[in-house]
Structure formats: C-alpha cells, structure tokens
Symmetry: C2
Subunit: 238 residues, 2 copies
C-alpha cells in the first residue's frame, strides 16, 4: 500500500517539534530575567492562536497571505501589551523573542527517525510556517531535510489542495508517491483526499495542560500509524 | 563589504557539479554497453544546449515554463534519433539516461567547501534546474544544502529578477544579506544589479574541449573571487 512512496513530507509544528514546551521555556526565561511571574502557558497558546487566526483570515479572504513570522510578530505585540510587558523589552529583545519560533526543540525521536528515513526516502517539510523560519529551525535543531517546502511556496495554507499538490509537483512525483506525515488527522485526511499517502505519528503531549486534546488514534483510512519517528522509520522499512 | 551576508545561494550546473564530464562519462558507458563509438562530447554539449534553448524560448514567450527534466527529455530524444540510437534503448533505459542529470559529480572541493560554509551561513541552491532534479543530485552527491530553491519556485528562469529577489524573500532576508555564488559572471552581474552580493568561483574546466571559454577572472564589481569552494569558505571566514 505504501510501496509506492518515494518522499515523505512532514508537518512541522507539533509533529517534528514541541512548539508549546519550547515557547513556554523561552517565555519563562524572559520572565525570570525581568523578574515577573505571568501565565506563560496562556501566552504561548494564544500566541500560537495568532497563527491559526492569520491562516483563517486568509481563507476567509479578509487578509493577504502572510509569513508565519509576521503573524507571530503581530500577535506577540498584542500579548505583550495585554501582559503589561511592552515597555520591558527593547526592539532587539522583541525580535529575538519572536524568533523563539525558529528555535523550537524537536521531540526526542525526531532527528533519529528523520536520519533513518532520509536513507530511503526524500524527506522534506510541508508546513504553514515560512521557509526562512523552517530553515533556521532545521539548522538550530539539526533536522536533516532534503528539501524545505511550505505554504509560502504556494502562497496559500494547508489544507488548500494547492499546497499538497504543489509540493508533489515541485518534487516531481505523483501524489501516490508522496506521503504526508503529521500528528494531526485533519492534515492527513486532507492530504488523503488529494491522493497522497498518509502517516500518522502520535504526539500526545503537543497541547500539554491547555485542554486541547491531541489526536491519539488514526482513522482506518490512514496508511501508516506510528508511535514516533523511529517507529515510522521502522514501519516504512528505513 | 560582505559582512552583511547571512545566506549564500549557489548556481549549480558548472559551479557545484561538473555536468559536462559527468554526462560524457554516462554516455561513454552507454556506448560501451551498446558497442558503438560516437562523438559523446558533441552529444553532451548539444544536450546541454536543449536546456539553454528551453529557457530562451520561455523568455521569448514561445513556450511555457518547463522543468529542466522535460527539456532534457525532449532534446535527448532528438539526439538519440540523430545518433541512430533511438531503437537501441528501452524506455526504462532512456528514463535512466535522462536522469544522468540527477547524478552529476561535484567538483572535488564542492562538498568540503559547502560543509564549511554551512557552519556560518544558510546555504542553498539557486538553479534553473527543477527542484526534484536538485534534490536527487544532492542526495546522490552528498551536497548538504539547507534549502533547495530554483527557478521552478518562481516559474521563471535566471536572469529574471523574479528568481533572485524571490529567493531572497523566501529566505526572509534583504538582498544585501544574500550572496549568489557562481562560476558565470553573467549570473553574478545580474544578481548584483538587484542588490545581492556576489561570489565568483573559477571553474576553468567546465566546458572542457568544447571551445567555450570559461570565465576566469571576475570584474571588479564582484564582491569576492575564489579559486574553489574551500577558498570561498576561507574568504568568507567560514
């Protein structure tokens, strides 16, 4: 069923990296430095929300296409204001903080699993994050991508078919030769609809204590279901 | 002058890999297997010519944008016909031969120089070749790109400013933060015109005995001039 797969392209936030834990850690460090105590979990979740709102506003044709960096920058300032921290950070410090999204920590199995998969497959990103962010993240975290691709290449966002099928075309493959790997069933079921193969990787801790429930079990239409990236590599024969 | 550079993006054919030597070797191997002796140097040069003609036809608005793979495929068949070899190769063998362009050999200093440069800079491709070709070439040759980009991302070809400035935007930098490295002064002088920094790397053997003269000395406007990629790394402080 997945013997046709030549490339695996990965959702990134939540699937490859622990965005929530990483962002909370960075915010905690800022708080410690400033000597303030805040609900950083809430800041992190609502910062992430700015990204979802940005992609939705584009889908609703209310805003133009924006880089994730820009959406993060805008939402960060709203939150800094609300948290009473606007004047506590210099512009350089705010630029640095916004780049926390370039420094997200991979899940413990990500680098090992990707390194194994890279021996057998073309591996790449397929993220709604912007390419610059994805490149910096890869350098910082040692993610061994063959190709960095994202929504930015197609000036749209997942789950628009343009993004999935654009990536397939850019790789020079047919849809059934490309697998999307993600921790989010909505992403996978969209990819499946356009003829791509699908690999689910459970990331039960993505949303921490936020109350958001991670997907834990794949629906039967998903081609491969794995507990982590090393398990995915094993199940893909890599 | 080049202290602002954060990313270096490379022309590939001729600059990173020895396309002519590699293609002649592959053709020689085919000839040996078939027991025929032909002017493979001529075949190689005119095969490469199909790519130049394809990009020119697009600029002249005579043809749509095409992947290099497609231009290679078309020209290969014209040449196989002319060389009397059409019926000597199966379809699978012709597919394999066309992918000789995915298997080009790097110049001896390319991998070492890129590996050094990668420690200090974002390194990527900026080729008129298609992304799938560039990814396969990188895997085959061990080229450690942070990002594979090419004309295909922008549905145009160098020296169109869309390609240079599109790459700068995709990386999230300003033009003066990105250097184009190439063995071809025309490529560099175009990049310079749009505000990018430029690094010349001499590849005196690119065109072999074909009569085409390689660029040997950079014009004074080029920011950095190097004898090979290791020398470029040294001159860029990497």
């Amino acid at each position: 069923m997945v013997d046709s797969v030549k490339a695996i392209i990965f959702d990134v936030f939540g699937t490859v990296v622990d965005w929530r834990g990483s962002i909370i850690d960075e915010l905690n460090a800022v708080g410690t430095r400033l000597g303030v105590s805040k609900n950083w979990d809430d800041f992190a979740d609502r910062w992430r929300g700015g990204y979802h709102d940005g992609t939705q506003s584009f889908r609703d044709k209310k805003r133009e296409w924006l880089k994730a960096d820009t959406m993060h920058w805008e939402r960060m300032h709203l939150l800094l204001e609300e948290f009473g921290l606007t004047d506590r950070l210099t512009r350089d410090e705010r630029i640095h903080l916004n780049k926390a999204w370039h420094r997200l920590t991979p899940w413990p199995d990500s680098v090992e699993g990707l390194t194994r998969l890279k021996n057998k497959f073309v591996i790449g990103t397929l993220s709604n994050g912007n390419n610059g962010l994805l490149v910096h993240m890869a350098k910082n975290a040692g993610l061994p991508w063959d190709i960095v691709m994202g929504a930015e290449n197609f000036q749209s966002y997942k789950p628009d078919p343009t993004v999935y099928l654009g990536a397939v075309d850019l790789l020079g493959y047919e849809p059934h030769e490309v697998m999307v790997a993600a921790a989010h069933l909505s992403d996978l079921n969209s990819a499946r609809k356009y003829g791509l193969k699908t690999g689910f990787v459970a990331r039960p801790d993505e949303f921490g204590n936020s109350g958001v429930q991670a997907d834990l079990v794949a629906n039967p239409e998903i081609d491969v279901s794995a507990t982590d990236f090393v398990d995915l590599a094993k199940k893909m024969g890599a």
